[in-house]
Amino acid sequence: MKGKTTLITAGIIIGIITVALVILGNPANMGYCIACFLRDIAGGLGLHRAGVVQYLRPEIMGLVLGAFVTAILFREFKSTGGSGVILRFCLGAFMMMGALIFLGCPWRMILRLAGGDLNALVALPGYVFGIWVGVLFLRRGYTLGAAGSQPRLNGLVGPLLAVGLLILVIAAPAFIFFSEEGPGSMRAPLFAALLAGLLVGIIAQRTRFCTMGAVRDIILFRDFHLFSGIAGLFIAVLIGNLVTGAFTFGFLDQPVAHTDSLWNFLSMGIVGLAAVLAGGCPLRQLILSGEGNGDATATVIGLIFGAAVMHNFGWAGAPPGVPAGGQIMVVVVWVLLVGIGFAVTRQAMAESREKEKARQDVQSTQTG
């Protein structure tokens, strides 16, 4: 019970920070959105040229560095990696591709829900469905293999990248892009955003906050531990939105959203399934990256890559709807994800059968 109270409190604090970020200038229902912010970073670096979503969001750097410092203080920083690295990169890219159809990571889905955006209510069952499919694979032994220890520098790549991006956004050299209109131009003051990132990074590192884990653990174990944090976040943001007048109930005219229900459902399904197969939602990947997990850093770079693909090919969802290319992409990525799940699970099942057989052979020779 003590753990649950801590998580609910953590959720409420994160919720308050989220509402504050919108008041300070971030786009509506986007006080925090890992997918949107990583997409803005991809744009800020010029990896895509969608002029309205380009900014090196300091919240992201804060998250990684907050988790990094906390992990060091609690002696939890460990340089690990080597578990299905390139598959994780792909899963990161797929996660982002799904998120940019819906227009938001799971976190923003919760924020949109708390802002009265009913399109998010359609996406939520999609997210749960994707996670449920992922759990089917987990139950049958899906694993990307054990991570091992790595040279310390490998684990420091994530935090160092964050420091580099921070220097770039502060120095603002001419080759870095800053949106002058659209969501990318709406931003909380740099140091407020950084501080918000650091605080949430610290909280998320301590509590292991994860939007996918919350749903997954309920399906797998009937364990509501992580879910209590999400509930706290939702309630805090809902109250915050009602107080600040940011609550608009309905499907139409929602900020940075569209009403294509089928694609909202299917795209969040992609995010859910990819998150299970990668072991964490986009937020959790950033936190793990700060803790020295090089595989999570690869996943984060995959997320950024996915954002560049979506905008360069014109596949991303937008307020008018989802382009045809994006719709085809959703179907193809669903097939690829299920394929990855099957292939990896099949091998894991075969290996565990072999292991069990070897164990029985040893037993029978001992008794015989």
């Binding site: 460990k78 690990t80 694993t143 990307l144 797998l220 174990f221 364990d223």
Partner: protein, 71 residues
């Protein structure tokens, strides 16, 4: 009346929890040792075991944790 040891070092969550639960549900097992090397896995396996009514004893061995679960 038997015991079993499983090695979950390096596995990302929830895999250690799934493996531990599977082992705890095997008939006749009343002591289970779970080796993990991450605090998250240590906490998650401990919480699950306690929820399932097992006693948890944690021993730190260098970089690793050995959880002894008994019922």
């Amino acid at each position: 009346m038997s015991s079993k040891t499983i090695d979950c070092c390096g596995l990302s969550c929830p895999e250690p929890v799934i493996q531990a639960r599977k082992a705890m549900q095997e008939p006749g097992i009343n002591e289970l040792k779970v080796k993990v090397n991450a605090t998250v896995a240590r906490d998650n396996v401990s919480r699950t075991a306690r929820q399932m009514g097992w006693q948890v004893d944690v021993e730190e061995q260098g970089e690793e944790f050995v959880l002894t679960l008994t019922r």
